[in-house]
Symmetry: C2
Subunit: 222 residues, 2 copies
């Protein structure tokens, strides 16, 4: 019989699933500890508080992600040896990095749900934590995107990147619900890789869309 993982791991494994399913506020420590078969006090003993547990759940995904993503960007920059990295390659690399990390634990869905929650749930401490802890890798990425899309005004690129962030997080974090509808309506089962395949041309087209009409000039300015 396989040995049970230690208490800390059991808590994290259970917590991430419950958090992803129902959100942070809706998941009680008793929920977690009873399902993980550990004592209630174990959470506060090992993590200190519920907040700290939430951050630890994120760290277990984001730490390996940032390491890999940085490494992949290093490779990419080496490959292109100073030349501009095309947008498609950047997006491809990001997608690969996102897909790789949770593959070890077979829980991309959880990963994406957590990202979605980090944005939508109140939990101000979480956004701050993520920004401070993992902001640098995103800064690096957006700078590379800037070089790849020199014709885009800075503000326009900023917004389009966030548009696409919304697309991806929204879709993948609500995947279960959407998959149910899609399966009912079109019969076909949709895998995550399938979805990423469908996302690629959409994201590229969105980033390369023509510029919007200039904002209308105020009346008083003639």
């Amino acid at each position: 019989m396989a040995q049970q993982p230690d208490t800390v791991t059991r808590i994290l494994d259970t917590a991430e699933v419950l958090f992803a399913e129902r959100g942070f506020a809706e998941t009680s420590l008793r929920n977690i500890t009873s399902k993980a078969k550990v004592n209630l006090a174990a959470v506060n003993y090992h993590f200190g508080s519920k907040k700290a547990l939430i951050q630890a759940v994120f760290a277990r995904y984001l730490d390996p992600f940032t390491v890999r993503f940085h490494a992949s960007l290093d490779e990419l920059e080496a490959d292109y040896a100073g030349r501009v990295i095309p947008l498609e390659a950047l997006l491809e690399t990001m997608a690969r990095s996102v897909l790789e990390v949770p593959a070890e634990r077979n829980s991309l869905k959880v990963f994406m749900r957590l990202l979605g929650l980090a944005y939508s749930q109140a939990q101000g401490h979480l956004r701050r934590y993520i920004q401070e802890e993992y902001g640098s890798v995103f800064t690096r990425f957006t700078e590379l995107v800037r070089l790849a899309t020199p014709e885009l005004p800075d503000a326009e690129r900023f917004w389009r990147l966030h548009f696409m962030l919304g697309t991806v997080i929204f879709t993948l974090s609500g995947l279960d619900a959407l998959r149910d509808i899609a399966e009912k309506d079109y019969g076909e089962h949709v895998s995550v890789r399938d979805l990423v395949r469908r996302l690629r041309p959409v994201v590229v087209a969105a980033m390369n869309a023509p510029l919007p009409d200039p904002s209308p000039v105020r009346r008083e300015a003639s």
Copy 2:
């Protein structure tokens, strides 16, 4: 001195703001009633339960929205008199309907935040309620989109519509945070209308993106 709106209205006005700011579970009835200056029991008296209050908050936005959106689609169909309505016109109409409704209460932000929460928060009852109560108008809209984009496979259109739903909800519901960043980085203040202007070409380009590569064939199928 202007007469205070009645209890029911005060509760709804306060609840929608607090819900939008912090989510449903994180907003207690005491939070709402104290800020609205009504008695705690008033919520259960007038609405029956917290769940019912949440649904009532949504109904106050979605009821007028569906009415207007149906009406706008009626006009549009009349204008085109049986001919196919182009995608741009459909998107334009939808955007206009969304913008019109909360303009009365000057709270598009709240409307969008609520929509975002409806998707991301657990609250299974909410999704079910919205689907049952307001599903028909979306069915009508997607059917018109189908006619406007005959070259798209059904599944592909389904997914792209949800991609764009994600873009819009994610962007507009996280608007405050994003606006802060954008203003800090680019100095310019961004209005909602500005954002809609920027969204238009992106959404159109995304819907018209080339089809993805066909999904790779499984090994055993030669």
